[in-house]
Subunit: 503 residues, 2 copies
């Protein structure tokens, strides 16, 4: 086992247990850990550290690629082992601690964390923990199901712990393309001019002097939980498929469309699955995460190539992949997130970005992160990287939710803004699709109200817009009423006016 | 005159008067015109069209680089000659029409207009009007004091009118670097790896078949009106100079800093002028506009090179430049705005972006465009292009303004968001500088309140923040009070609580 997974002999006497490794993490350290959308995360050392924190006052600043799998963030949060966390999370327990102010969370564009570390705009990285399939003969790491920020962590950290996951076949080698930008002022372009372009190495470069421990694990990634499509997600997917068919007819795109990016979740999955039907062919993807739908499209012969920073799939899809890496090696590539999400590559390739909104407003501003304007859900993730630089920026959400449609997801004014109207081209709910290209704010409002708002809210929102226009302005608003929907929901449990007790 | 300015003989019989040219602009046309921050705009044809609209019902969609000079936008707006206008303007009359809904305005990132045209996401361009110093022997255009979107307009428009400005010396040739991206899917990187990098031509390529008229003018650019620095702008500049000195001491930058971008206005000018003092040297600039301060720094030997899309300077500076283009040719370059403002180049070079805010909030969200959340001022311009992709994103504003400090420019919640907290590193008012790097929202609020808020508002804003925190949330807010400052100002003429009549 060891000889197959550690080809660099100097590391052999560095093998330690996860518990021993957990004691190499010192109180108040800043730690960078592999892991992006539950893929390729630390499954031994961080959990052991969380366990250690059950009985000991130790806490760290933890930087990852994106979200972690299993109960790692839960356990770290529960045991007060986190001072600060960035750049993304999806954990209910951690979220609770963030929202009551016990854990400081920095919500970051996923492309930026690496920049901030390299530029010295975050505190020095004391330790990196990186999952590996194996270590090559030079001491470098063959990553697993994600790259995330791992290459930057390895470069910037004082010390490194490698977590070798024996459940990942060594045949994974070859799906990664690891490249880091040169130091200022000598940076070069990322010479990626097609989704399958390669500019780096199949491994993460490691300075062996920094390695203070190697830990073995055999725990697989947490599987993706994919909710089956429902009526609403299917309706949204159908609106989008129709839109793309019309774009092809109008001659703006071919049936191969442009490179696709899709956020995580059932809507995105339903949209991608929608492409298995119809005349679309030779599709390509330049995204953050490869999901089940990616592999469905590849297996169906509809998709030629997919680039991302991680693979997060269901249990079935995962085990198929583990046995057949060789079969996919000429069809997928994983990149560091500073490249999968790089503005320059997204713009150059002309990516179609499809992301999920929590809510959007009548002018096309989007809230991706905050419930009721205050409570963090997951984080902005890569949605800003893609929306800003895309060829087409699409946001989807249901028009209303909860019993009796108590929540409208289209609002006079969003309670928090992650994406300004400048960066939003198309909005879709199950009600319809609003094409905002070339429209000024008052025109946008008309189309959004007509196409996207749930019928239960149409009159109230139209009334707000009409009265706001009477007051004037480029972006008409009535500030004293702008959040009434949110305030009403908080007070009455419904955004509907007839449910109002008092405002 | 003609033989010196038109080296392409086929054009000689296309010379027409401005009035004749104005009749080539048909009702409902979409017209792209040169002009960026009052530099290199159409000074004959568009004004003649505005004049024509005095007595005739004709109106167009007008796309420019950025703002126009003289009274062109005034006259077009006054005579109802505009249906739609994008991507930027600074004209009081036009602003009035935009805010009462008579002219549709699309506020765009200055890097994006060109993309939208090329991708077919805006209506087809019927006509381009481009100011030129002269026409070369192949019929191509040597631009004047700006490039803006002119190269894209020339590429995309059905017809072209060239406006030859004889006041611009032909020695201007050589300061431009014109490059347009290849069509999808064959785009290449912009191979600019230093501020003085050149990747294009000294001229704008023209298809002579498209040219339907050549008009001569001798009107100079509208001069920049530079307000002299006052106590507040000097204080802001001093805070920033101190900050940069500290960054150099901390080893994060050298005394050459990183390439500078500065928005237009007296604060930006004061900051740049501040660099003439101190130990800064070999400064470089990668910006949108070259202003007086740029030339002061070059003449003082403090700045080695400056790149932008236009030159907008005072009368004195302008006439010096006109007589001495040769002297500056190895020190400045003008680029199309899709390159001066390109995400990839800004990130690659590590630009320090300094832009002016109308207001910002305690979490670092910035409003750059809308007064009272509804009324458009000028537009987002390039501030988003630079803030998002910069090495350091800095926004400046005065802490309070008007008699008795009736307006606080730091607020519980901004009434409109152009730049989200993700894209804002440093905030400065005359009160102090808030360094937000590595801080979570609640930490950001503490620093912003401490450093940036005017003393008259400190207690009220601290009180809001304290009570919001008691309610919880990652970004604590009290939605029903969030806009009280704005509402109070509208009702009482002051944001101060003791001025409140009723809310």
């Amino acid at each position: 086992m060891t000889s197959e997974r550690i080809l660099f002999k100097d590391y052999e006497d560095k093998i330690i247990s996860a518990n021993e490794a957990a004691f190499l993490i010192k109180d108040k350290m800043t730690v960078g850990s592999s892991g992006f959308t539950k893929a390729g995360d630390s499954k031994a050392v961080l959990p052991a550290f969380a366990k250690r924190a059950e009985n000991e006052n130790v806490a760290i600043t933890l930087i990852t690629g994106a979200s972690l799998g299993h109960t790692t963030d839960t356990d770290l949060a529960k045991n007060d082992a986190l001072i600060k966390r960035m750049p993304f999370q999806v954990d209910p327990t951690l979220r609770g601690k963030i929202n009551n102010g016990e854990v400081y969370f920095i919500d970051q564009h996923l492309s930026e964390t690496s920049e901030l570390l390299v530029n010295g705009h975050l505190s020095k990285l004391d330790l990196a923990i990186i999952e590996a399939a194996y270590v090559d003969e030079n001491g470098n790491i063959i990553p697993t199901t994600s790259i995330g920020n791992s290459a930057t962590f390895a470069q910037m950290a004082d010390k490194i712990i490698i977590e070798i996951n024996t459940e990942i076949p060594t045949t994974v080698k070859g799906i990664h393309d690891v490249h880091l930008p040169e130091a200022y002022p000598n940076r070069k372009p990322y010479e990626i001019t097609s989704v399958d372009g390669r500019i780096g190495n199949e491994y993460i470069t490691i300075d062996p002097e920094k390695v203070i421990g190697i830990v073995f694990t055999d725990i697989t990634d947490s599987p993706a939980q994919i909710a089956p499509p429902d009526e609403k997600t299917i309706a949204i997917a159908n609106h989008l498929v129709k839109f793309f068919e019309d774009e092809v007819k109008a001659g703006r795109m071919t049936e191969s469309l442009m490179p696709l990016q899709a956020g995580i979740g059932k809507v995105a999955n339903a949209v991608l699955t929608g492409f298995t039907k119809g005349d679309f062919k030779n599709l390509i993807m330049y995204s953050e995460v490869l999901q089940d739908s990616t592999f469905e499209l590849i297996d169906a012969g509809k998709m030629d190539f997919a680039s991302a920073s991680s693979i997060t799939v269901s249990k079935e899809c995962y085990s198929n992949l583990m046995q057949n890496f060789d079969q996919y090696k000429d069809k997928i590539v994983l990149r560091p997130q500073n490249i999968s999400n790089a503005a320059e590559v997204i713009r150059r390739l002309g990516v179609i970005a499809i992301n999920t909104a929590i809510e959007f407003d009548i002018y096309g501003n989007v809230n991706s992160t905050h419930i009721g304007g205050t409570k963090m859900m997951n984080g902005i993730g890569g949605s800003g990287d893609f929306a800003r630089n895309s060829y087409l920026s699409i946001f989807v959400t249901q028009s209303a939710s909860k019993e009796n449609n108590a929540i409208s997801h289209v609002l006079p004014m969003v309670s928090h803004i992650d994406h300004t109207e400048h960066d939003v081209d198309i909005l879709v709910t199950e009600q319809g699709l609003a094409d905002l290209r070339g429209l000024a704010p008052r025109e946008r409002a008309k189309v959004i109200i007509e196409k996207c708002v749930h019928p239960d809210y149409k009159e109230a929102i139209q009334d707000y817009f009409t009265r706001a226009c009477q007051r004037g302005g480029h972006t008409p608003h009535i500030l004293e009423e702008a959040f009434n929907f949110h305030i009403r929901f908080k007070e009455t449990g419904s955004m509907k006016e007839n449910s109002m007790v008092s405002v």
